[in-house]
């Protein structure tokens, strides 16, 4: 109550009115507090869901360049990806020559890897999800998003901040019991005006920061305003990072569920 008292414009008010206002403010404050807990978590979830849907579309077809940057060397690869909702993802490596034609398929919680040199698909063990993807700072889970940031976590608003002049919500994601997640918790920064994820911090189960994702270069991609550049920065290796740049993106193109099959991995060119 003392907090409320100090912000009231006290000068022109009688002491009686001051007391009434203080009481009303107190009631409102308490009410707000009671309402805010469920309302905020619902809002937080909606904000994440909206940003996730904005980024993903019903379907998406994208081409990306991925740069792995280390103090003494760097490598670049290009990939093409197809997604449908949260459950179906296909990623095909298009360069360099050595890895060209490698395909990853995700269906719900399962992931397969097509290796063109031996013309075989390999089902990945679940432990592979937390491993780095093809030498980058992204994990397999980042790429195929086995876990859903909407359904596999509980959400709450942890604060506000500004990124590149954009006002953002800072949202805390806590894994749900039994969800197949590789992180102990995640913080997401989402633009208040446009549904854009601008920053993410990934913590392990011991609450140690592992990776930070920074999104930038916001522009129109596939008819939507989106960040075209993402940088994944590992916390314990300050001199290295992985940069992901969208070069083309198309949303809501009809894609049949049967596109996302083991059989079709071998058909992709």
């Amino acid at each position: 109550m003392t907090g409320v008292k100090t912000v009231l414009p006290a000068g022109n008010l009688t002491s009686k009115w001051r007391i009434i206002i203080m009481k009303m403010a107190g009631i409102l404050f308490c009410l707000a507090g009671f309402i805010a807990v469920p309302l905020f978590s619902q809002d937080a979830r909606e904000i994440v869901k909206k940003a996730d849907e904005h980024e993903r579309g019903a379907t998406s077809v994208a081409t990306l360049t991925i740069q792995t940057i280390r103090p003494n060397w760097s490598r670049e690869m290009t990939v093409k990806s197809w997604t449908k909702g949260n459950d179906l993802v296909m990623i095909q490596v298009t360069s360099p020559a050595k890895d060209k034609g490698i395909v990853y398929l995700k269906r719900k919680r399962e992931v397969w890897n097509w290796i063109p040199a031996i013309e075989r698909s390999i089902k990945l063990p679940p432990s592979m999800m937390s491993q780095n993807w093809m030498g980058t700072d992204f994990t397999n889970d980042d790429l195929v998003q086995e876990a859903s940031i909407v359904t596999d976590y509980d959400h709450s608003i942890a604060g506000d901040s500004t990124i590149d002049g954009r006002n953002c919500y800072k949202i805390r994601l806590q894994p749900r019991q039994g969800a197949p997640v590789v992180w102990g918790r995640i913080f997401l920064w989402i633009d208040k005006k446009d549904p854009l994820m601008l920053r993410a911090e990934y913590f392990d189960e011991e609450n140690i920061l592992i990776n930070t994702l920074v999104a930038s270069d916001i522009k129109m991609l596939g008819g939507r305003l989106l960040p075209s550049r993402m940088e994944m920065l590992p916390a314990d290796k300050k001199t290295q990072k992985t940069v992901l740049i969208y070069t083309a993106l198309e949303f809501d193109k009809p894609l049949d569920d049967n596109f996302f099959t083991i059989q079709n991995m071998s058909r992709l060119q």
Binding site: P96, A97, K98, E110, P125, S127, T261, Q269
Partner: protein
């Protein structure tokens, strides 16, 4: 035949830059390797060497939205005194157990052999749920990383590390995909003789986060039935395959069971471990010298010559550019042991080097000792 095909494909492949929607479209890729090998058969003072310059050219063509083709050529130029130790080395490497040869030995001298083989040459017609493939192709039904009893068309030797693509089969294959990630498959590999035909079906489906498959058919002079799975237990992958071969004269009771199990898991700090066991109910127990790297006659029925063979593999990635992969193969029979480490390093985007060793030990009347060892250094440029 090869001349004819390269004659048609290569000029087209050189000028492929047409608009994407136009057909035909062509793609060209491949690699050039140079492998230097040192071998010590049983004694360290009896060194022999071989150098292998190895080029692979893959040409693929899309003739229409539904019709595609592939031609893949494997050119190998061997020289060194090790060639003399293998009786008729040129003939051995040019033997291709198939309907047609599609290979040519250009040079066949005591210490020098130059050989070309088309190990893929196929046409594929894909429409809706159907894929029909005819020609030399790889019909890869295996699941396990080390031993594949289900790979009944074209079994491979995992000691042959310089042949990632593995041999193909001259066959006709019809695949039909069903909704929900399931497939029916029929394949026929005609033999040159009656006793060499292989014809089988495969049904693959996915249930409860497991891939399952069942197969059955004719396998040379046998009937074969088999199956396999790929799933997980907690964080580890769990896979298995088995095939049972029985002579077509059912009264004959000499069936052979080939069965492999595998578990694999990744760990922190970029470690990956895989364990596997192979059971062969009808072992030959023959131990040849140094793993026979350049040719083999193994099959899904006899993937390794012992009743039980164990495999342990550990891969440690030091960085995205450098990794050490060590495999140990052991059988209680004669305490047969192979140590198979490989260290690889990526030097630039398309250039890699690696070092590989294969050291063989076993026990006989003279005691337990090394039966041979080979060391290889290889450089590879991909294009």
């Amino acid at each position: 035949m090869i001349f004819l095909l390269t004659g048609i494909f290569i000029p087209l492949a050189v000028f492929p830059q047409q608009a994407k929607e136009q057909y035909p479209q062509f793609r060209l890729n491949g690699y050039i390797n140079d492998l230097q090998g040192l071998s010590f058969p049983e004694r360290w003072d009896s060194l022999s060497t071989v150098n292998l310059l190895h080029n692979r050219v893959n040409i693929s063509a899309q003739f229409s939205p539904k019709l595609s083709g592939r031609l893949e050529l494997r050119n190998r130029f061997f020289w060194g005194d090790q060639l003399q130790q293998v009786p008729d080395f040129g003939k051995l490497i040019s033997e291709y157990n198939g309907w047609s040869g599609l290979s040519k030995i250009w040079i066949r001298k005591k210490k020098m052999v130059f050989h070309t083989v088309a190990d893929r040459m196929l046409l594929k017609y894909s429409t809706g749920h159907w894929d029909i493939t005819a020609g030399r192709q790889r019909i890869n039904w295996g699941i396990n990383n080390a031993w594949n009893p289900n790979d009944i068309f074209n079994a491979w030797n995992f000691l042959d590390f310089d042949y990632a693509e593995r041999p193909g089969s001259d066959a006709l294959r019809i695949q039909y995909s069903l909704p929900g990630n399931a497939t029916w498959e029929l394949a026929w590999k005609p033999g040159q003789r009656q006793a060499e035909h292989i014809a089988a079906f495969l049904y693959k489906f996915n249930k409860k986060k497991y891939d399952f498959q069942f197969l059955g058919g004719l396998w040379q002079q046998d009937l074969v039935i088999g199956g396999g799975w790929a799933g997980s237990i907690k964080n580890a992958g769990f896979k298995g395959e088995l095939s049972y071969f029985h002579p077509q004269q059912i009264r004959d009771t000499t069936g052979t069971l080939s069965f492999s199990l595998m578990a694999d898991q990744t760990f922190k700090k970029d470690w990956y471990l895989a364990l596997s066991v192979l059971f062969n109910s009808n072992p030959s127990n023959l131990v040849s010298g140094t793993g026979n790297l350049f040719g083999n006659t193994l099959s899904a029925k006899s993937l390794f010559p012992f009743r039980y063979t164990f495999y342990a593999g550990a891969l440690k990635a030091f960085s995205p550019l450098s990794s050490l992969n060590t495999a140990i193969i052991y059988s209680p029979e004669k305490h047969f042991l192979i140590l198979f480490p490989n260290w690889s390093r990526n030097l630039s985007e398309n250039f890699d080097i690696d070092f590989t060793a294969q050291v063989f030990f076993s026990k006989d009347l003279s005691g337990y000792k090394m039966r041979g060892s080979s060391f290889f250094i290889r450089g590879r440029w991909n294009f």
